[in-house]
């Protein structure tokens, strides 16, 4: 079975600062995909970033980047230059063949 663990229920960061959200996972598959989703107060799930497990290079999307440590089964999200609009729930997810599992989420608050 695939599992995803997010150990930080809540975090806060000052506007313009950098914050890192943690995620660990467990899977017996060798080929899988990792994602970070953002869920703002509107509840709409928005894909933030995607990482292919067979690629060693960490994915980057503008101010969002990941630190993917395959051996440690760790997949953290770094948000640089935090903005008020980044305030949301962030979910880490692991996907393999129609089976996408989500962590419990981290509630991030960006303070002005």
């Amino acid at each position: 079975a695939q599992t995803v663990t997010q150990s930080q229920p809540e975090m806060s960061v000052q506007e313009a600062e950098t914050v890192t959200l943690s995620c660990t996972y467990d899977t017996s598959e060798s080929n899988y995909y990792l994602f970070w989703y953002k869920q703002p107060p509107s509840r709409q799930m928005i894909l933030v970033i995607r990482q292919e497990a067979y690629k060693q290079q960490n994915a980057t999307e503008n101010r969002f980047s990941v630190n993917f440590q395959k051996a440690a089964k760790s997949f953290s999200l770094k948000i640089s230059d935090s903005q008020l609009g980044d305030t949301a729930m962030y979910f880490c997810a692991l996907s393999n063949n129609n089976d996408m599992r989500f962590g419990a989420g981290t509630r991030l608050t960006v303070k002005p």
């Binding site: 509840r43 996907s95 129609n98 962590g103």
Partner: protein
């Protein structure tokens, strides 16, 4: 472009009443479709997924069922709602097995009273 529609946005139903939530996808063919439930303050739990018309896989045995009568239509149903069915229900679609991620609908908040 592809869009996903989910309705209703909110629903308040009495215990024991039936349920029907609908999800449709536009702009693509043969999508994989998913129903997730999100309990308050929790992550998403996969309920059902479908890879084609009439093909439903259930992840969690419970009071709910799903159907896919048309290629781009996915329906979540219940004959008799329980209080524990309350939650936020999300429909999603993907190309193939979802390795490029899922696209989610805007969700339905269901409150069973």
């Amino acid at each position: 472009s592809q869009t996903i529609h989910q309705w209703p946005a909110t629903l308040v139903q009495p215990v024991g009443s039936p349920l029907s939530l609908e999800c449709t996808v536009e702009g693509t063919s043969n999508p994989n479709l998913y129903w997730y439930r999100q309990a308050a303050g929790r992550g998403l739990q996969l309920l059902f997924y479908s890879v084609g018309i009439g093909q439903i896989s259930s992840e969690v045995p419970q009071n709910l069922s799903a159907s896919r009568p048309q290629d781009r239509q996915f329906i979540l149903s219940s004959k008799k709602l329980l209080l524990s069915d309350s939650g936020f229900y999300l429909c999603a679609w993907s190309v193939g097995t979802g390795n490029y991620g899922y696209t989610f609908g805007s969700g339905t908040r269901l409150t069973v009273v």
